[in-house]
Assembly symmetry: C2
Homo-oligomer: 371 residues x 2
Amino acid sequence: MTKIKDIGEQGLLERLHRFCPPEMIGDDAAVLVTEPEQSLVITTDVLVDGVHFSNVTTSPEDAGWRAAAANLSDLAAMGASPLGIAVGLGLPGDLSVNWVEKLYQGMTECLQKYNTPIVGGDVVRSPVTTLAITAFGQVHPSRIIRRSAAVIGDAIVVTGVHGASHAGLELLLHPQRGQNLKDEEKTALIIAHQRPQPRLDVLPILEKILPSPCLMPNTSLREAAPTPSLQDATRTCTERSRSTLSTSAICPMPIAGMDSSDGLADAVIQICRASGVGAVLELRQICLPMAFNHWLTPEQALQYALYGGEDFELVLCLPQKSASALVKHLGEGAAIVGRITPGSTILLHDEQKKFPDQVLTLSQGFQHFKS
Amino acid sequence: MTKIKDIGEQGLLERLHRFCPPEMIGDDAAVLVTEPEQSLVITTDVLVDGVHFSNVTTSPEDAGWRAAAANLSDLAAMGASPLGIAVGLGLPGDLSVNWVEKLYQGMTECLQKYNTPIVGGDVVRSPVTTLAITAFGQVHPSRIIRRSAAVIGDAIVVTGVHGASHAGLELLLHPQRGQNLKDEEKTALIIAHQRPQPRLDVLPILEKILPSPCLMPNTSLREAAPTPSLQDATRTCTERSRSTLSTSAICPMPIAGMDSSDGLADAVIQICRASGVGAVLELRQICLPMAFNHWLTPEQALQYALYGGEDFELVLCLPQKSASALVKHLGEGAAIVGRITPGSTILLHDEQKKFPDQVLTLSQGFQHFKS
């Protein structure tokens, strides 16, 4: 087994070059061409061996895939299309070169699905394996999706099933669990954990169903009186564009959102906090993996869905009509799971009354999950 | 002393928000507005405690400054103006919050000099303090400085003194050395190590002295016949634009270069390798700190200058006339230190014949420095 200390950081870098486009290599920095009139979107994740991944549950290929997917998901959550990622690696000398190559293999497998290159990075010696990814994307300023843009009356849409990733992790950590599950059900849950799909596919659908608010203010903005001019339309966007400093002169999309990487409950809470609103979540509308029915209690299933995290779906708040159209386009797993309300309370409501209404908070969520 | 584990990563992030522009906070990613027709330039550095910095020689403020400066220097080396940096931190729970705040203080002190914001990042738990910085800049495609663009006959310019940073590090590691130095000389060398200045100030000077090659091909490109049209000018740039895939349709600057972060010798060798050329360096033209005269032997002084590294000057290859104009504008420390030659040999030549001619190679350079 060739170790990194056998070939050195420089030798490793040379081996990793095959994962990067050749024109990105050989200078102090990489150069990317961006399209005009697009804003640049930047997101960074740091992953540490033993904290964020481990050889017990995650092969290097999967660690690479998951790291790339998490960053692309952050871009999708902002409405941005990916341009590239930069990879910073801290690696112990005793680590095998093969492990690093497999990590890159997993990253590029995920990235290639979305035509996204690795545009460079850095490899250094470190006592602990550390992976720092910075992803860049581009989005037209009017198309930025922000957490702070939810307004009262919005429908809350989830783009897919929640709880599967956490269930997959449980099965990897405790293979004796899930005895009632069929093999293909187990595999599907484990793959949901190992190979999450960033929902970049949602962006062109949003583009299709949401007309440009500045050009058609009265069809997409509920608050807007039917005004023909751009200036008036812009003014009616004030509520949505608060705290979106860089787009102050541009009427943004009638949509708020983020991804559910830290759990569905966290996403709804963060959006409500940032927007100064409350929400009601309809418990029965949240799509769970079918396999949960013959494995978990309803309480456990709900906790996995709300607090499990790493499903990397999008949680979007938008007008009811657009929400219905979006769900129809997205298909299976996508659903309107609630609505934005006045106040600041986030209420979980069960129309079948099997669960009592409960107020969701971040700390309560955390306790739920840990108990 | 408040430790990170006392307030958690979330609590720490909230304290660090004051170092970022408010509009960059609160979403899955940060949004930056770029100017039209500019290419995006990206560079990443990972720094690990005990490998790249240590509390013996580096305060957290200086570690922050140096990390920011190194990244800005990579942008300057590409001809790019900085847009922002993203900071990924891996931190042990036992580390003091104050240490991290001082790190950010140092980073922002350096960045503010160049109007560059911290546009976000990530903070995670790690057994070893790790700092991953990704810097973004912008440059017009015709203004990109690449290593591969040196041509035979170019003058090699250094933008300042070499060897000072390494001398400062020596004084920090071994305070008993440099007995013959005055206090102010010691201080100047130590500051050169602790607070290096990225040479972004060189870019507007280059813009001034180098006319746009596409508009004035015959004044700036030696190979160009006097041709009035843009098409012709572009064609004459073939030699410079080889291996610059993203600028294939654009006539680049008649200049090659990189920074001297890994030493002056390394920079010249890397440029020559990437350009497929050789070089002669004139030993007496390399500017050393005055203090070296009453501290180091001529051999030691030369080794510090050639192999010490971290001076973060630019090493630029450009036409003789432009080189003279550049040196005149830059003032003290800047000099023409050699010229680009046919072949692949990089020769160090002493016109006073006190040193024999020697061929520089990367491995030889490394041995020199370690011996």
